[in-house]
Point group: C2
Chain length 638, copies 2
């Protein structure tokens, strides 16, 4: 009983007590994410910049465009630019780079020069449709403003330069006046949410209460206004305005919009310690992870409106699974674990980050996927591409490209990879929560004292995580035990210990001395996962996972009809570190069964099967070797 | 050796020697098809008429429409009317009905009155766009002309009245002049094929060589003309004009267009004894049945252009499988068996007729399906219907309707059911081929002598077929042994006999006396069919068939997640005659396995399975009990 009270004290009492530990306090020093960050620093940041430059996105900031010129500014081009700046700022936070900084400064100077006297800033509504400012809810002005704020804060934090932040706050002040105080815009809430979470960030950064008020205004007004129109082809669900947010219990509509909104809602629930809003966020979270999420952490089952569909609807080939949507899902999870430590949130964030999000970028770092389906059938795409436009269906592309017309995902990847250490820790009172494991060193502020922590691990490829305290003190380290790790072990200074595990966190309480080392061993078993029987598209099939990684098979490795491959738990799995293009990854080998190919289309007998060697690679490394068939779900033999 | 020569003599030598035995010589006297014909006579013919009347299709024939009036004539409304007339004529052929005849006469009178002096007849191009006659290939004028011919021949045969036939031949004479002789139309070949086979029918009926010449002209010119445009959204494949017909080796484009064309090609190959054209027809047939046909005989995998897609692409939920396309497939097969007796043709015709075609009409006879998917998921349709138009996907409807905007299927069903005995027999020299088995009596012309034959059977529900010769003579009865019937038995006058079986026909040669009776026993086993491993959508699943009938399960009978039901060949199957709405059908009972429904979406262990009773009904009887989930392909356990 005493033990239970103890746990209550360190958990139940502290709801709404979480504080984030941000990446600026933590250096990723090696391992999986260091490789990614180096690649992004050396290649991706410049690759995205170059494509944006070529497509006129930077030029548009100068407001020089005139009718008849190429590269007409688009309603959300600013967000591409400011997200790129945010990504650059996260890299600059860790390594000064005068060249990169100069590139940002030039863009900021543009903004300073073109911002309207009253604070307004948007190329499209200045040079293309000057009269239409704040008249069309569907046209992304507030979404762009949100990204401007996020980029500005990041750049100010990284460099101390505040010019962009002044631009951003001046614009937000205008928005506050127009929307909340004077009520003079033609609509009430953003058609594409994002500004809400940005405003909370701005409130945190500046301490100015009015930014939180504006975020609250947008969130609370949502779904209550008769002035909030929507697209002619869409509906209020599409932009989560079908109900007041506190009445929404299923994840609906455009998935990126939805998860940005839910992130803002979670931010607000935390700030206001609002039980009702948290309950709604939790209900939405459960609806997603229990009924509407792919095993890769992908969300948004259909390209029709890039949106959620209905419970258990998870088609493989046409899965939309936008890279940005999974980034937004991870962002939502990170906010949720601040409200209430529950390992389901970090499990979900990891699932999204290690699978769908990273599938969004090539191993070369310079090309991108917007859509991340679970299976790919080149024959279907080839046929489809051969048809005239009017007879085509929408199918995800099979090779990553350098830039999209709607190119939100590449700079969003820049942001998330640069700041990935955001996902490591949080604190509640004297508890340090360790959520996602990375090879990194830094400090965590605990009751006004910076506690040093060094984490060493080859995660997600190996399950051993070593955390060494750098500072002495009485506190608790709460280690997340992922749901997939059934038999984890913890040692402190080499001694195995048993500690209470509550909601997926192992609470290690101790008077820590510098040098004390916790080793967490997570068993990295290969698992065969089944989907719920209600999932029409996955029945009878199994997916292979190891740790947080989902695996897939490509025809490049297996010259077979992948769809007809039968796997079995009994077959046994061997994990080998192998080189894939430019990266060492753990590859899984097993024996599978395939049927011989007969001539007939339908047969009244079982076709002979034969055993074949079968190789699987991490899902996120897919599609790096040209166009090839890919499957994630295989026929499952007992 | 002598035996082989004997077979050669009765088969190989006689290619291109087939003569049809048409339904006017045969009365369906009981059993399966009699029930359908009675229903169609008592209900369907009038139901289709009433809907056509309500929607202005008959009124349009009067050419009274003016801008601003409702029910603007549509470019292919005439074909609806003339197909209805053809269906009515087939019923009138068997039972005089002055009321029904008067209805037709009134329509014919309309045509006589409105036909242009030069022979032209089309409401749309007379009252809506009078200047556009024969200028747009895509606009179905020739298709309508083809159906006018077919309707006119049928009505003349049934009643001896030739007014409609005179209208038709006058129109065809104009078409012949404009297209073939004067070459003055703006295009060369029909955008929607049909007229080719109608012209061959007209040639057969009138003996006028020029009709065959025109059919040849259209078929041979196809794919060679630079004046043959296509839809802006489509391509030449869509209307089978991508290549000259003798270069086409895969079934492409709009499936109804394709199969009407192939039917005309087969007609021509037979008339001209052209080996090359037959070879092409055979190649196209093989491509369809070995790679592009659903197990129900449905063709056209996608609604995009109502068309064929690519080899082994057979999705279940979005299968288009237009009722008309399977009717056209049966028509093609019937032509092919005249060229060369091979049971694959009749197997295919039966597959189409007993499954997809009959699925097109309700058990009540007054409502229809245009699309016949293999599985139905009401949740997906409900969600889809709840979305605004711009965000909807195309899904087949789940309940039959009384009429469609494009209502080709209902009158096509009238035609095929009324004349279904067309599928029973053909002759080659002194061989009577028995293709499809029905309870029917009639005569077959063999070398100028009418041979009486009485067939008694409860087929397709039971496998016993009794054929009694009514006329003495030396001839061969070649009984089709379906591919699904592995161990059939034949007795003559009660004595079991062994006869040569070539290409799926059992040749019973004998000096027949009146009263001699053949009994063919086809084993009606329940079979579990597997699809070729290349069929991505069906891998790991099995479909249940019995005789020519494909079975499906409906949630109305099985309150389960149908998609997760596991069936096994070992489970055993019981067949029971049960009443479904208004019809006695053999229902299949078995034991199946289902998993319990857990809360989680993904699980790392096998979910407990339990055995449940499972009931299947013939596919064609689906969707007669309201909206309900339906599956045809089930998970297959060894």
């Amino acid at each position: 009983m005493e033990k239970m009270n103890e746990i209550d004290k360190i958990t139940g009492m502290e709801k709404f007590g979480g504080s984030p530990v941000t990446f600026d306090k933590i250096d990723v020093t090696g391992g999986f994410w260091k490789e990614k960050q180096d690649l992004f620093y050396n290649k991706t940041i410049k690759a995205v910049y170059d494509r944006f430059e070529e497509t006129g996105r930077f030029e548009a900031l100068k407001f020089n465009w005139k009718e008849g010129m190429p590269n007409k500014p688009h309603i959300f081009w600013e967000s591409d630019v400011t997200k790129w700046i945010e990504g650059a700022a996260y890299l600059l936070q860790k390594r000064r780079d005068t060249e990169l900084e100069a590139m940002v400064d030039e863009l900021v100077e543009c903004m300073v020069n073109t911002q309207d006297k009253d604070g307004y800033l948007n190329a499209y509504f200045t040079v293309v449709e000057p009269g239409a400012r704040f008249t069309r809810r569907t046209d992304h002005e507030l979404y762009c403003a949100g990204h401007l704020v996020e980029g500005a804060i990041a750049y100010a934090k990284a460099t101390g330069k505040t010019a962009m932040l002044r631009v951003a706050t001046k614009y937000i002040d205008l928005i506050d006046r127009v929307f909340r105080i004077e009520y003079s815009a033609a609509f009430d809430t953003p058609g594409h949410e994002e500004i809400e979470l940005a405003l909370i960030k701005l409130y945190d950064y500046t301490g100015e209460e009015r930014y939180k008020l504006l975020a609250e205004y947008f969130i609370n007004t949502r779904g209550t206004s008769s002035r909030d129109e929507t697209y002619s082809f869409a509906d209020q669900e599409h932009m989560q305005s079908h109900l007041p947010v506190r009445k929404q219990v299923t994840a609906e509509g455009h998935s990126v919009r939805a998860l940005y909104l839910y992130s803002g809602m979670a931010d607000l629930a935390l700030k206001n310690k609002e039980e009702e809003l948290y309950h709604i966020c939790k209900t939405l979270f459960s609806n997603i992870v229990n009924k509407r999420m792919y095993i890769t952490g992908g969300i948004g089952s259909t390209h029709h409106g890039e949106s959620f569909t209905f419970d258990y609807d998870l088609p493989e080939y046409t899965a939309y699974n936008e890279t940005c949507a999974s980034i937004a899902l991870a962002m939502f999870c990170r906010r949720m674990w601040l409200i209430e430590p529950d390992s389901r949130y970090a499990d979900c964030a990891e699932r999204a980050l290690y699978n769908t999000v990273l599938s969004g970028v090539s191993l070369f770092g310079d090309s991108f996927f917007y859509e991340n389906p679970l299976s790919v059938n080149p024959k279907r795409n080839t046929f489809n591409n051969s048809r005239p436009k009017g007879l085509q269906e929408h199918l995800p592309i099979m090779e990553r490209v350098k830039v999209f017309d709607c190119s939100c995902c590449p700079p969003n990847l820049l942001r998330v990879v640069g700041s990935v250490a955001d996902y490591m820790y949080s604190t509640v009172s004297d508890v340090i929560y360790a959520h996602c494991y990375m090879n990194a060193a830094g400090t965590v502020l605990l009751k006004d004292k910076e506690m040093g922590l060094v984490q060493k691990t080859k995660y997600p490829y190996e399950g051993r995580i070593e955390i060494t305290a750098q500072t002495e003190g009485d506190y608790t380290v709460a280690l997340r035990i992922p749901a997939w790790a059934k038999k984890s072990e913890i040692t402190i200074n080499g001694e195995e210990i048993t500690v209470p595990v509550v909601s997926g966190y192992a609470y290690c309480k101790r008077s820590w001395r510098a040098g004390d080392t916790i080793v967490l061993n997570l068993p990295m078993e290969v698992k065969v996962m089944e989907a719920n029987p209600k999932v029409v598209d996955l029945c009878g099939r199994g997916a292979i996972t190891r740790g947080p990684l989902v695996y897939c098979a490509e025809r490049a490795d297996n010259n077979l009809e992948l769809r007809d491959v039968r796997i079995s738990r009994k077959a046994g799995f061997t994990v080998k570190q192998e080189t894939l293009i430019n990266t060492e990854v753990p590859v899984i080998h097993t024996k599978a069964l395939v049927r011989r190919i007969p001539e007939q289309l339908y047969l009244d007998e079982t076709v002979t099967k034969k055993e074949i060697p079968f190789k699987l690679i991490p899902y996120y490394t897919r599609a790096n070797r040209g166009i090839t068939e890919m499957s994630t779900w295989f026929l499952l033999e007992d």
